[in-house]
């Protein structure tokens, strides 16, 4: 446990202004590449949620932020206590698809990222309702690569939006940024050094 004070959501978002692509990793082997890249944040999508301290320290030592997906890491339950554990470990943001946990995450003083999974047209309207209820700091839309195609169908979300899922090329990234995302989460290492200028 640490006394680390995480950044605000505004701080997090401002880092995306220079380098919009966050490094999504599913194992420790990719961490070194992520730390050596321009990616402002590392999104941890797999691993042992009960043994994160070394990873968190290394990410912070490199000057980056770390977000952990509560639903996907091993060893933790997606509930109040799982959130508390991650906050006390020193993560900067907690990602979950469970909207009811957003107030818990905010109360723990870390950035609340609500992951919205869109697979049907009818989910688009319910997404707005879900966000109004959960009030996250940031929403992450998956699969992000379809964002340009569905942008006209998606009601205004009024929450800063990340896009993740099947975003692999600079063109993919530029397209989702042009469609309104403020950042991208991707496991494609080639995008981790993408500079903001390309989507201007």
């Amino acid at each position: 446990m640490t006394s680390y004070i995480p950044p605000t959501a505004s701080d997090f978002l401002s880092r995306l202004a220079d380098a919009p692509c966050c490094a999504a990793i599913v194992d420790g082997a990719r961490l070194e590449a992520a730390l050596g890249s321009r990616a402002p944040a590392v999104f941890v999508l797999r691993g042992n949620g009960l043994d994160l301290s070394d990873m968190i320290r290394r990410v912070h030592d490199s000057g980056k932020l770390i977000a952990v997906h509560l639903d996907l890491v091993d060893g933790l339950k997606a509930d109040h206590w799982g959130v508390t554990w991650l906050a006390r470990c020193g993560v900067d943001a907690v990602i979950t698809s469970h909207g009811q946990l957003m107030p818990v995450i905010r109360n723990e003083g870390v950035i609340a990222i609500h992951r919205l999974l869109l697979s049907r047209r009818e989910h688009l309207d319910t997404a707005v309702t879900a966000l109004a209820r959960s009030r996250p700091h940031i929403v992450e839309i998956l699969p992000g690569v379809v964002l340009p195609a569905i942008n006209g169908l998606l009601p205004p979300l009024e929450v800063p939006m990340l896009a993740g899922g099947f975003i692999r090329t600079p063109l993919d990234a530029r397209s989702v940024l042009a469609a309104g995302a403020i950042g991208v989460t991707t496991s494609s290492e080639g995008l981790w050094d993408l500079q903001a200028a390309v989507h201007g």
Binding site: A24, V26, L45, R46, L117, L118, S119, R120, R121, L142, P143, V145, V146, A149, I150, L153, G164, G165, F166, R168, D172, S187
Partner: protein, 197 residues
């Protein structure tokens, strides 16, 4: 009842609740997919039409997801094509001679691979990818993982996306308005001497 080996999967499955009297547009290789409805509507629709609809089992209120439900669909309603998220149910439906399509969620590349782990990978069990619109963005190596026949389902909201998706999938699920748009697009293409996808 048709033998599973000869079951025809329409290129276009038009999503419907079975209450609106929706019919596929003429001229298309299309059928009805019953979803988001209840058991009574399913029975009415299946028994009143010449061609039994495809059924999305998990969204039929009142219908279970066990062997009894599978037997009811196959033996009583002559349902030939069934979509489900449950691998065991897909397996049972295929064993009963139907064509099962296992619904696999594809929100990102790592999740896709995990979702495919439970696929029965047996004869007469294909794959539904949701949302279908991501098929355009999959790598050849990912497409190769998907057990055929392959149906794209979700967020396909216009004729152009539908026709592009049909280039990589055997079938798509769309709303009636989109199916109508496909019919008009294909009629136009035939009018200028082009073969539809």
């Amino acid at each position: 009842m048709a033998d599973g080996a000869t079951i025809h999967l329409p290129r276009i499955l038009v999503a419907d609740t079975g209450r609106g009297g929706t019919s596929p547009p003429p001229g298309l290789d299309a059928g009805i997919l019953l979803r988001n409805t209840d058991l009574a509507a399913l029975i009415d629709c299946a028994l009143s039409n010449g061609t039994p609809p495809a059924v999305e089992l998990d969204s039929i209120r009142g219908l279970g997801s066990d062997d009894a439900a599978v037997a009811f669909l196959r033996d009583r309603l002559s349902i030939e094509i069934m979509l489900t998220r449950r691998p065991q149910v897909a397996d049972a439906f295929a064993a009963a001679g139907g064509l099962a399509l296992l619904n696999v969620l594809a929100f990102d590349s790592t999740g896709l691979r995990r979702s495919l782990h439970g696929h029965p990978r047996r004869e007469r069990v294909g794959t539904v990818i949701s949302p279908g619109l991501v098929l355009h963005h999959m790598l050849p190596s990912e497409l190769a993982l998907l057990v055929r026949p392959l149906v794209a389902y979700g967020l396909i909201d216009n004729a152009a996306d539908a026709l592009a998706t049909l280039a990589v999938a055997e079938g798509i699920v769309v709303r009636p308005e989109v199916a109508q748009g496909i019919a008009e697009s294909e009629a136009l293409m035939r009018g200028v001497g082009l073969s539809p996808a």
